[in-house]
Symmetry: C2
Subunit: 325 residues, 2 copies
């Protein structure tokens, strides 16, 4: 039997985690042969509900779950942690400006970064889900200099999966036939869903759908899908977000599918002219517990313009929290 | 590629299904190589939320999901259906007697039974989750005479899994080391959790825990665990119930673990003196898409007395809905 992996989940009493934790526990993230220890972090007022989640996890009799720790102390939650799923964040309240949201969450993530820097495994793999995800990851990284910086990432897999579905639907094809989708940039409305390199059953996607659809329909539909789900559901995406977290971390740990790539927001190494250090979504290939940014794609001027706008937004978000790093 | 299996889920916009559907879609119920078509049935006022669930399922880009049908028409939802997960039921309202609850749900399940009788696959495998689950399954069966009656079952796997956890916790052992747990009877507080034949790492459980604990602590704790979760969580078990549905149906379809058994409420064939036809929870072994009640266990007088009480309750529940079959 393998040694258990210690997985820390923040915002553990919330809706995304209620969809996420049971699937981690059943082996969907790290495999059916990988035991886990689940560290559930919540703010103090939510501890009681968090304990109830732990009760239900126990009531599933998952053979892979070796221990469950419920705590409101980040130093306990992240002690020796090898995987950090940063789901918890302050949501945007009524009358709140985006700038205020960034500042408030910036404080949370700078504080968590400092704790992770002290107590976590130095190679902890982190996926930030709480918004603004890319900038929260940037702040966390800046406050955790002893942690392997490559491993501090943010979630754009939900956007990637939404894009796969939209293209499958439009082209009348099976999801499994679509490869090489890309989400560039920030996990926000400036994100850049790009089908320029996508294939459908081996053929170029661009030959299956017209360019006007890709630009005027596909791109805004994917970028604004979160709002559409809220309008239909009355609350924000939870199970689909949780599913994307599983996809993100499973592929990172166990490898992405051969002949395909996935989208992850990772610290830029300057690829495609993006400023080094920004947490930017790229197409990546995962292998051996690591990822590599796909290189050498010839990006059109139209897409590059959109990529620049998303980069500019990330710089402005960084500016808004400059006091935190 | 295998032909898709058509799975119908009732109460599809509710909390249990929100935990259940995404795990079915990912392959956790029928296997990673088994495509599915998901038929989501809801009452008309909940259709909008149900559509939002379908949006999120699409946004997961699950390769196994070949189609999603959202409907408020049972005849559409159950047409050619091969698996029916009967999650939806009227919950108990304030001031409502259990008898009223049984009568109201009886009407729902007799009506669904008639539709299933007409339109579903004759070998549809049914798991009733909505309470009173055993009696709802009984009414459904009585109204669906053309359906393979063996295949109309109710969920006691959540009780079984809760029992596994309690024994693991008490004996300080790993969940995976515990075999041959039993839940006898009705999925209600009269259920009979029984460790008489259970083993812990190959040894008799009775040698690991004392008899007083089994009788005075274990049995009531398992039987009343649902209420304990409600008290802690503020709402009833959802993710753990969904997990038990997956376990129930996965084992039934793909086989239970060799050397172990599971608990399912199935139509009694008279085994252990229970009246034939009552939907009663037994230890069963699953193989080749079917189940067999474990025979020849020597049940103590104490347990037999409890089993009789649970059987008596099922007869009284049946009496309360005698006009429906």
């Amino acid at each position: 039997m393998k040694q258990p992996v210690r997985v820390t989940v923040t915002g553990a009493a919330g809706q995304i985690c209620y969809s996420l934790l049971f699937r981690i526990a059943s082996g969907e993230m790290l495999g059916n042969d990988q035991p886990v220890i689940l560290n559930l972090l919540e703010i103090t007022p939510a501890l009681k509900v968090c304990e109830a989640v732990a009760m239900e996890l126990n009531d599933c009799a998952f053979p892979l779950v070796k221990d469950i720790v419920v705590t409101d102390d980040p130093a306990v939650a992240f002690k020796d942690s090898q995987i950090g799923l940063m789901v918890g964040a302050k949501p945007r309240g009524p009358g709140m400006e985006r700038k205020d949201l960034i500042a408030d969450n910036g404080k949370i993530f700078s504080s968590l970064g400092k704790v992770i820097n002290e107590v976590a495994d130095k190679n902890i793999k982190i996926c930030v889900v709480g918004n603004p995800a890319n900038t929260n990851a940037f702040i966390l990284a800046a406050n955790a200099p002893s942690i392997n910086q490559r491993n501090i990432t943010a979630l754009t897999r939900l956007d990637h999966n939404r894009a796969l579905y939209q293209l499958a639907e439009k082209s009348g094809s099976d999801i499994a036939e679509i490869k090489k989708m890309i989400i560039w940039g920030n996990h926000s409305v400036t994100q850049v869903p790009d089908i320029a390199f996508a294939t459908v059953a081996g053929d170029a996607a661009a030959d299956k759908v017209d360019a006007a659809w890709a630009k005027d329909d596909f791109m805004p539909t994917v970028a604004k899908r979160g709002a559409a789900v809220i309008a239909a559901r009355g609350s924000s995406s939870a199970a689909s977000a949780a599913n994307a977290v599983l996809d993100h971390m499973r592929d990172w740990c166990l490898g992405s599918e051969s002949g395909d790539w996935v989208s992850m927001a990772v610290p830029s190494d300057g690829s495609y002219g993006v400023e080094k250090g920004l947490i930017y979504s790229y197409p990546v290939v995962c292998k051996d517990g690591d990822y590599e940014i796909v290189q050498g794609l010839e990006v059109s001027d139209f897409i590059k313009g959109k990529m620049d706008e998303s980069e500019q937004e990330l710089k402005e978000e960084r500016e808004a929290v400059a006091d935190l790093f």
